[in-house]
Amino acid sequence: MSNDLTRLTAAELAGLVSKGEASAVEVTQAHLDRITAVDDRVHAFLHVDTAGALAAARAVDERRAAGEKLGPLAGVPVAVKDVLTTKGVPTTVGSKILEGWRPPYDSTIVQRLRDAGTVMLGKTNMDEFAMGSSTEYSAYGTTHNPWDLSRIPGGSGGGSAAALAAYEAPLAIGSDTGGSIRQPGAVTGTVGAKPTYGGTSRYGLVAFSSSLDTPGPCARTVLDAALLHEAIGGHDPRDSTSIPAPVPDVVAAAKLGATGDLTGVKLGVVREFAGEGAEPGVTAAFRDAVDTLTKLGAEIVEVSCPHFKYALPAYYLIAPSECSSNLARFDGVRFGLRVGDDGNRSLEEVMSLTREAGFGPEVKRRIMIGTYALSSGYYDAYYGQAQKVRTLITRDFTAAFEQVDALISPTTPFVAFPIGARTSDPYQMYLADLFTIPTNLYGGPGISVPCGLSEGLPVGLQIMAPTMADDRMYRVAAALESAVGTFTPPAL
């Protein structure tokens, strides 16, 4: 075990704290010091809550001193994507329209993190309103990939993924609407899991696309992700789309997978993804991962999902449509920015000036695309048709899972690209989510686990499982991790 507390896994840190070999304050201070040392270059955090973190850590140490039994993540620091409300702690969603807002309540995920005794370090950077694949659409500047600071860390949850890869935090929370947990995980060499839709609560998650948004765990190891998943998951009466069922036993599955035995597990490679423009280095790393999984005992077959090629266009109608409706709440009345209220202008004029000043270009594009797709005359051809395609994609998944236990693919078609390479053509940015989007439309779980390097940059393997079978993907991911190990970026 390393002497540097920031290099340890969450499971190791929790073990040290529970045995009294390190205090939660020491663990927290080590990560705060690391943030001070590197975050001016990485820019993973939008807000660091030093006082709140140290107070939470002291509370854990006091509970231990009083003889209380601590939970499996007590005293472990966690970084939270700025899409989740934190009582009294700034929550911007990467947008100027919420600059300075301090929510009056905690999201359910954050409340559960507190209940588990984790220590929230602060809020991480993201594309504005979680719309993007690089953090370049954040209103507060781009996060840099710790593997190569001139490259993007993925998005929208690039801040959470970069914080892990830069050893600023051992655990982080993300949210995944079209790949915003998995794609940043892939390009930073970390683990990111999108739970089954409804398996984690959306209460206090600033809404982008309500039928797709799914908060979930990010970590450097599969076991750590599973421990975090278990801590935050499960039914929440405050979210009417929350599934009233127990969290699948993801921790046991990760431990089972870590034995490296996949005998009896049948995995499907999606035929339609083969010709879908993945970079040669990504394809090569994926083929190596398939070979590794075979050696571990898995049976690999090819399956056909003929409608997956329509997932990207369907998603870029459904998500903007829901966003155009959800973001109507930013009207300059109840919270956030208000611009141009000179006593003469009407509510509508003030609203339009406020939204113009507060939203960035990508958010405006999506609101207008959604408004277009929902307008009379276009509804049937665009939004209505996209919803039918969603049905067909769901049927593709259902048919595939009659043949195999889980599906595998590269997580993203390309490794971390240089900052600025895809911002001039918004559709080129959308292609980053080509392989992750089908899972969101279906509602099932997906995980990205590092599987290799291409020209020195990380490549992720995606594992997709049936709804409420999140444990299956953890087993496969942990088995792969046991064979290929974890990946460490060059020293910052």
Partner: protein, 101 residues
């Protein structure tokens, strides 16, 4: 042929309550055209008899017990408002003057 004109983008911006600039209209018209042409691919799928999916979780009529639970105080609820008065959100003028008089 373009899927969307500059005038249509201006109309969408008005519907969306976005006071976009002339320069933005030029940029957005081209970008929205590329995006709309790409997403129009969904029209290639023969789906006339396919039911739509709005949501992946088949839950309907989720109800809760009608019990009083703690909630935000008026001060907390108004804490993020740009303007408030007498425990209410204060809004800019809603009615036109000729209508109001």
């Amino acid at each position: 042929m373009a899927a969307i004109s500059r005038e249509e983008v201006a109309h969408l911006a008005r519907l969306s309550r976005l006071a976009v600039t002339e320069e933005e209209l030029d940029t957005f018209a081209g970008q929205l055209d590329v995006i709309l042409q790409a997403v129009a691919q969904v029209g290639e799928v023969a789906a006339a008899d396919i039911p739509p999916t709005s949501h992946s979780v088949p839950l309907t009529n989720v109800l809760r017990e009608d019990v009083v639970t703690p909630c935000l105080t008026p001060e907390e609820a108004l804490s993020g408002a740009p303007d408030a008065e007498e425990q209410r959100f204060r809004v800019p003028r809603i009615l036109d003057e000729d209508v109001a008089s």
